[in-house]
């Protein structure tokens, strides 16, 4: 490509020079060729630059240096013109190459800095969220180990409980971090199978029962929902994260509603809460890692949800509910339902 440009530059310079020839001295005509070399050198590496310099010298020699129409040179001073043209070309080419290299290095540095920024945000965030519970665990456990006999049975039980709860939180955080890493590095392979959303929801509600105990949970699923081809364990995590999120960000006794709707090509699942609502700001960015960081969460939950839903070919989004509250919705593509066993088809059931 650069060589084609080199040839083109020589042809263009020659045409311009032939036009100027009638009015200007031949030395000034040589400057047109020099300009062509500089222009090529600004854009292309050394090879094309040498090519254009040589071609220009040949063209200049042939068309303008007496005796014209030959490659023979009468006056040795034109040799200097040739040398200058080549020299200028190489210097400009060298300079631009260096500038370009520096720009590339700069860009690489910036990417590295951005990666580093994300990594340290992750580390800061995780270490903060680990440090507090670990401090509690260390404190409570050492109290039990060293001074246990001086405490009442209730005090010992309370300390043991707090070790248990904090350790469970730490373990959940570590699981989330690992999960996010596995999702980001593509280490997770979807194990898709026919699943029932009400069934997955039932399992999540049972698992989260203690955490949702202070809220008013309302399950509003239609009787006839089509089966979906999903990795049920992952979709369970999405639902779980959304429900936990709703419970964490709304005061006790707030209504949380789980809904689903068959929209023909997609199944849309929603977790709505009637809490204080999301703060002003971009509704898309709350799915970014660490954007949503507050009480008890690193802000990984929603990022994990988004990664899982995207893997399934669906979409996840948040909406401010009119009046008050927030809805998190995600869609899952519906496929042609699978063939059912004969008994079900025969209408023997129900």
């Amino acid at each position: 490509m650069g060589y084609a440009w080199a040839a083109g530059a020589t042809v263009a310079a020659t045409l311009v020079a032939l036009g100027l020839d009638a009015y200007f001295h031949v030395v000034n005509v040589a400057l047109v060729y020099l300009l062509a070399v500089v222009l090529v050198a600004l854009r292309w590496p050394r090879g094309p630059v040498i090519t254009v310099a040589v071609l220009n010298v040949a063209a200049f020699n042939y068309f303008f240096v007496p005796p014209r129409g030959t490659f023979h040179v009468d006056d040795p001073q034109y040799l200097l013109t040739f040398a200058m043209m080549l020299g200028v070309g190489l210097i400009v080419s060298g300079l631009t190459e260096r500038v370009r290299a520096r720009a590339r290095a700069q860009a690489a540095l910036e990417i590295e800095a951005e990666t580093e920024r994300i990594r340290s945000a992750l580390l800061a965030s995780i270490s903060h969220d680990l440090r507090t519970p670990l401090a509690v665990i260390t404190g409570a456990a050492s109290t039990l180990a060293e001074r246990g006999e001086r405490l009442s049975a209730e005090e010992r039980a309370a300390l043991a409980q707090s070790v248990f709860h904090q350790a469970r939180d730490v373990s959940e955080l570590v699981t989330k971090v690992l999960q996010m890493t596995r999702l980001e590095t593509g280490a997770i392979r979807l194990e898709q199978d026919w699943g029932s959303l009400p069934e997955i929801a039932g399992a999540v509600l049972r698992r989260l029962k203690p955490r949702l105990a202070e809220h008013l949970m309302m399950v509003d699923l239609p009787d006839e929902l089509p089966l979906v081809r999903v990795d049920a364990s992952l979709i369970e995590q999405v639902l779980g994260n959304l429900l936990e999120n709703a419970a964490r960000h709304t005061p006790p006794r707030t209504l949380i509603r789980l809904k689903a709707q068959n929209q023909g090509t997609h199944l849309v699942v929603a977790v709505e809460d009637f809490g204080p609502g999301l703060p002003e700001g971009d509704l898309e960015r709350i799915f970014d890692k660490f954007r949503h960081r507050n009480a008890g969460g690193v802000g990984l939950g929603l990022a994990i949800c988004r990664a899982i839903v995207l893997l399934h070919g669906g979409r996840i989004w948040a909406e401010r509910l009119p009046g008050v509250g927030t809805a998190f919705r995600f869609s899952l593509p519906l496929e042609t339902p699978p063939a059912m066993p004969a008994e079900a088809l025969a209408g023997d059931v129900k």
Binding site: D193, L205, L227
Partner: protein
């Protein structure tokens, strides 16, 4: 049954230690094995009443330990698995393990599983009758009723319920259910289960979405629990 012997195959000494003290406090005698080879030998030597096998053993896979024990013994086997080992957990259950507990677990959960499994081994369900809340199912006469009203069950629904009842309180994998009820050619037809479990829940659960008896073990299978 309080003096039952439990074989614990687990490589982490710290985990062995807390399991030993909690199981010991319940009156169980515990035999500890730090790896798969030792565990397989101890299973033959001590003839325990139940085995708890960790899936992440250093020498060979916990699934292999289960296979070797199953070659000669029907003793109940519980699996300890990390969340990341979803696949090997199902493999272990299909290889003959009876139930699982996911790490990290509260000891109450493990003890409950141990009790169910030991009770089950000592007194296998008769397979004749099943009580689910306000419902009664008689498998011999193929009759079911709820609050005194007869409930119609199809032959397949009876077979499915009987299969779950045979493992009352314990998890049964999709593969096990499909193979037993529909035959090995349908071992991968999970959607059959989704449809039939929905029907069974509509017949026996007060709230089919939040069942108390026919529980879902997401990604693994189902568990039938008789008492609330």
């Amino acid at each position: 049954m309080t003096h039952a012997t439990i074989l614990l195959v687990e490589d982490e000494p710290e985990i062995r230690q807390f399991l030993c003290s909690s199981l010991g406090a319940e009156g169980y005698r515990v035999v500890e094995s730090p790896n798969g080879r030792r565990g397989t030998l101890d299973a033959g030597m001590h003839k325990p009443d139940l085995a708890i096998v960790d899936l992440g053993l250093p020498d060979f896979d916990g699934v292999e330990v289960i296979r070797r024990i199953r070659e000669w013994s029907p003793m109940p086997i519980l699996v300890l698995s990390a969340r990341i080992q979803e696949r090997s957990k199902i493999e272990a259950l299909d290889a003959g393990a009876d139930d699982y507990v996911t790490k990290p677990f509260g000891v109450g959960e493990l003890l409950a599983r141990v009790r169910v499994a030991l009770r089950h081994a000592a007194q296998p369900p008769s397979g004749k009758e099943l009580f689910l809340g306000d419902a009664r199912i008689n498998f011999e006469r193929r009759q079911a009723e709820r609050n005194g009203t007869p409930v119609h069950l199809t032959p397949t629904e009876f077979r499915l319920l009987a299969c779950l009842a045979k493992h009352l309180g314990m998890v049964v994998t999709h593969r096990q259910l499909l193979t037993e009820v529909w035959g090995p050619t349908h071992a991968g037809d999970t959607h059959y289960l989704r449809v039939y479990l929905k029907q069974l829940r509509e017949k026996f659960e007060a709230d089919p979405v939040q069942p108390k008896h026919l529980l879902t073990e997401t990604g693994v299978g189902y568990r039938l629990v008789a008492d609330d």
